[in-house]
């Protein structure tokens, strides 16, 4: 079976071919899911956002400009859908904050082990948990740039395209967001960086 190019897959998907669309989103599915997961901090909501985004993309494939990068367009729609969901349902964020300890443990189970010892592994999970909680306390636009740049590793150009902002704005927003995140982590635990350094 010949491997179809992105352009061919888009053309087929436009004509209503579901299989081609599935192949098209396969490449960006995991990254899109992780963006949604970091935004919404709930697996079920992240899956809902992902499905809604993909259906929006399928519906509006005709509006995709040929010169643009398909995956950047996809992530942009995922980000917008997550923002919409957060706006519509403030409860999502609250829910994640007031989750029980038991659920939090379940959540951190998603983090894969990079084979450290059991004690170090526990510390890593705790650290990740603290960072994610601190992330939730940022303003939405600050959280957005940290997720896209520092967690997902997108280039400034890609982020500026996704958020419809100039690169300069993105850079300054990222700097402010990082400083704010550091402050929040220190407010939570004054020794956060020192303890981490000692390990």
């Amino acid at each position: 079976m010949s491997v179809k190019t992105e352009k061919e897959l888009i053309a087929l998907a436009k004509a209503g071919d579901e299989r081609s669309f599935e192949l098209l989103i396969e490449q960006c599915k995991t990254k899109a899911y992780n963006i949604a997961l970091r935004y919404l901090r709930n697996e079920e909501d992240a899956l809902d956002a992902l499905q809604e985004s993909f259906i929006k993309i399928y519906r509006h494939l005709d509006g995709f400009k040929e010169g643009s990068k398909f995956d950047t367009w996809v992530y942009r729609i995922v980000v917008n859908t997550c923002n919409d969901m957060l706006r519509k349902n403030h409860g999502i964020q609250m829910e994640s904050i007031i989750r029980s300890d038991e659920e939090e443990d379940e959540y951190t189970l998603e983090l894969p082990d990079s084979d450290p010892g059991p004690q170090e592994s526990l510390l890593q999970k705790e650290q990740a948990q603290l960072i994610l909680e601190a992330l939730d306390q940022l303003k939405p636009d600050q959280k957005e740039v940290i997720i896209l740049r520092d967690i997902q590793g997108f280039a400034y150009e890609e982020i500026s395209e996704m958020m419809n902002c100039s690169i300069g704005t993105i850079k300054s927003r990222i700097n402010r967001s990082r400083s704010r995140l550091r402050e929040i982590l220190l407010e939570q635990n004054g020794d956060f960086f020192r303890l981490n350094n000692e390990r």
């Binding site: 995991t30 899911y33 697996e43 899956l47 650290q127 990740a128 520092d150 982590l185 960086f193």
Partner: protein, 341 residues
């Protein structure tokens, strides 16, 4: 000293941010749960089904608007042609003159020839049918208005084109053969039949509906047949409390066949009521083809979605949604002139 402290603090802050960036980049990537693929596939299928449905609805709306446009145009032409015929032939110049003379004498000069002519037309309509000028008992044909050659057979086709079925027998009506004694009596009968019809539909009363179908005629619609017709009407007028109204939109030249538009404000049906030698005949496509449609569907559970008439091909398309166990399926059944009823 202060500068040195500031520098050290700044240096610490940078170090901490670098540390933070490292921690953020190490946050592990979660895999997409396996169930998502299946969920997505289902959502895509639903989306495609929705697209198809929307396309079908759009197509139907376009067809309906074309039909409405043609019907309205046909009605206007009919009325125009009728008036023209009456002035040119039906009311001869002698009659016109005497009418003008007599009527202006009666109602005063200010009324003018138009009022006089109308009065004359009214007088003719009220006269016994045997004395009517021949031209007046012939129906008006839209197609023939176009090509100038109209026949009685074509007349029936044209009426059918307005959305109703009319049998050939109706064309044999001659003066004095009508069931209702006078034009007023016929109009009163039409009203009564329409009251029964609309009440039957609104109240879901098949007995009343059968009564409307059998009103003052020799036809024998059973309650079971009326039940079938009622189900189709109920499918079409989906509002919980259907309130139907009717409007007379056309009258044939001999005034023995009236076309009504029955509407709930959203959807409409064309009903033709004809005064035939066998009595009053109430004709409407759903009523006329209900048994044929039930035969085609063959006992499956269904909902009638729309009825589309195509004047060019004289076909009536019944859009039906078959309620199958797991999913609904939209089917189209087309009735053609050649179909045996």
């Amino acid at each position: 000293m202060n500068d040195e402290m500031k520098f050290t603090n700044h240096n610490n802050e940078d170090q901490e941010i670098l540390q933070l960036l490292e921690m953020l980049s190490q946050l592990p990537e979660a895999p997409v749960p396996d169930e998502f693929d299946l969920r997505m596939r289902r959502a895509l299928k639903e989306e495609n089904a929705k697209r198809r449905e929307e396309a079908a609805v759009k197509k139907t709306a376009v067809k309906n608007s074309i039909w409405k446009k043609w019907t309205a145009m046909a009605a206007c032409l009919t009325i125009g042609f009728l008036s023209f015929q009456m002035i040119q032939g039906g009311v001869s110049s002698d009659m016109m003159e005497s009418a003008v003379k007599n009527e202006t004498a009666d109602i005063g000069e200010s009324a003018g020839p138009t009022v006089a002519m109308e009065a004359e037309i009214q007088k003719i309509a009220d006269e016994p049918a045997d004395e009517l000028p021949l031209l007046q008992e012939e129906p008006v044909l839209i197609s023939d208005i176009m090509d100038g050659t109209w026949t009685l057979e074509k007349s029936a086709e044209t009426n059918y084109g307005a959305g109703m079925g009319i049998d050939g027998e109706m064309l044999q009506i001659s003066r004095g053969q009508a069931a209702s004694k006078s034009r007023e009596a016929f109009m009163a009968d039409c009203d009564q039949a329409l009251v029964l019809l609309t009440e039957g539909i609104a109240e879901g009363d098949s007995r009343k509906l059968a009564e409307a179908m059998n009103y003052k005629n020799t036809l024998e619609y059973t309650e079971e047949e009326a039940d079938h017709v009622l189900k189709l009407y109920n499918d079409l007028f989906t509002e919980e409390e259907t309130s139907l109204d009717w409007k007379n939109i056309s009258v044939t030249a001999w005034s023995r066949s009236h076309v009504y538009r029955l509407t709930d404000g959203i959807r409409g049906l064309m009903v033709v009521i004809t005064d035939t030698p066998d009595g009053l005949k109430v004709v409407e496509p759903i009523m006329e083809h209900s048994e044929w449609l039930y035969e085609q569907i063959g006992g499956q559970d269904f909902t009638l979605v729309d009825v589309i008439y195509t004047p060019e091909t004289e076909e009536i398309e019944f859009l039906v949604e078959l309620n199958k166990r797991k999913k609904k399926e939209t089917r189209s059944f087309v009735w053609k002139e050649t179909e045996s009823l």
